[in-house]
């Protein structure tokens, strides 16, 4: 089961967040609800520290996921400093394919190639673009690991 989806930008700010756990079928109430909450900061801090640790352990050693008793966090970090994170239950396998799709297809086509959307987000800005939100919901909810 996939619980939530997060994007952090190169300035370490949460530019997108979507909670799937509470509402099904998903209503749009949980889009960008937790961007400034402690949860976002803790998640970012954990991912940040673990990424650093893994690259210190060995060069080119990239953090892909980590697991706790009940949860698993899946990460894709781009060379431009974007971080795409999915939180799932601990039994879910590899979600790197889904993370790649979210970046390479969706983010690229609805944000990067969209002249009306910024690519360098200023503090406090979030992704509100409906094509992105709907597209992300579709990709995530149709993934075999969603339920």
């Amino acid at each position: 089961m996939i619980y939530s989806f997060w994007i952090f930008d190169r300035h370490c700010n949460c530019i997108y967040n979507r909670d799937f756990a509470q509402h099904k079928p998903a209503s749009k109430d949980t889009v960008n609800r937790n961007n400034d909450k402690d949860e976002a900061k803790l998640l970012f801090g954990a991912i940040f520290s673990m990424s650093r640790l893994s690259s210190k352990l060995s060069d080119g050693n990239v953090l892909q996921s980590f697991r706790t008793g009940k949860y698993k966090a899946h990460l894709k970090e781009t060379a431009t400093g974007l971080r795409f994170i999915l939180i799932s239950d601990s039994n879910v396998g590899d979600l790197s394919g889904l993370l790649n799709q979210l970046y390479s297809d969706l983010y690229l086509n609805t944000i990067v190639k969209n002249g009306l959307s910024p690519v360098d987000f200023k503090e406090g800005m979030v992704i509100k673009n409906m094509s992105f939100i709907n597209g992300a919901d579709e990709l995530i909810t149709q993934n075999g690991d969603f339920i």
Partner: protein, 190 residues
């Protein structure tokens, strides 16, 4: 390490990029430059600046497409960056592979020689004796490179040094690495 990049570049170009008619592209770029020359009353220094700034805005977006299609991470050194720019970047977006030349001893500077510059086909500079000295016709490329590299934390000075359109024997862009920018870190950590 130089061979795989060539193959990757060709593969991405062949299978993963949308293509448009190159003459349409060349003519569109040409009319942009011509319009800028009119807008700035042939003040070519301003035209160069404007082209660079347009390129910068393209570059900061183009890098994401580049990364999404190649799945590359950060480079180990500037030599690798040079190889990737020439064999994958230029190949993928312009279907040409500039030669990397004149690497400086400190590994921080090199030239890209464009044997074939799709932007400059059919082009003649205005014969006002000024354009051949001042206008860098393809200056948009300078901005693209600068913007794209800055997004992957490389602060690089980019400039044209030669252009066939000006009567030089070749078209060359010089890249010099100033510094590697630090990734931003969350407040309270260091």
């Amino acid at each position: 390490m130089s061979k795989p990049y060539k193959l990757i570049g060709e593969d991405v170009y062949k299978n993963r990029t949308e293509k448009i008619n190159s003459e349409l592209f060349t003519l569109t770029y040409g009319s942009v430059v011509a319009q800028l020359c009119r807008d700035y009353n042939n003040d070519y220094k301003k035209v160069n600046e404007q082209l660079e700034s347009m390129g910068y805005n393209i570059g900061i977006r183009l890098i994401e497409e580049f990364l999404a299609k190649t799945n590359f991470g950060r480079c180990i050194n500037f030599k690798e960056t040079a190889e990737i720019i020439s064999k994958v970047g230029f190949k993928m977006f312009l279907n040409t592979t500039p030669t990397v030349d004149n690497f400086s001893a400190d590994g921080k500077q090199f030239n890209l020689i464009l044997e074939d510059n799709p932007l400059a086909e059919f082009v003649e500079l205005p014969d006002d004796n000024k354009a051949v000295k001042e206008l860098w016709y393809s200056n948009v490329l300078v901005g693209v490179l600068k913007g794209a590299l800055q997004m992957v934390q490389l602060d690089v000075d980019v400039s044209f040094v030669k252009d066939i359109l000006r009567g030089d024997p070749s078209t060359e862009i010089k890249l010099r690495l100033n510094k590697i920018l630090k990734d931003e870190i969350p407040a309270g950590e260091d």
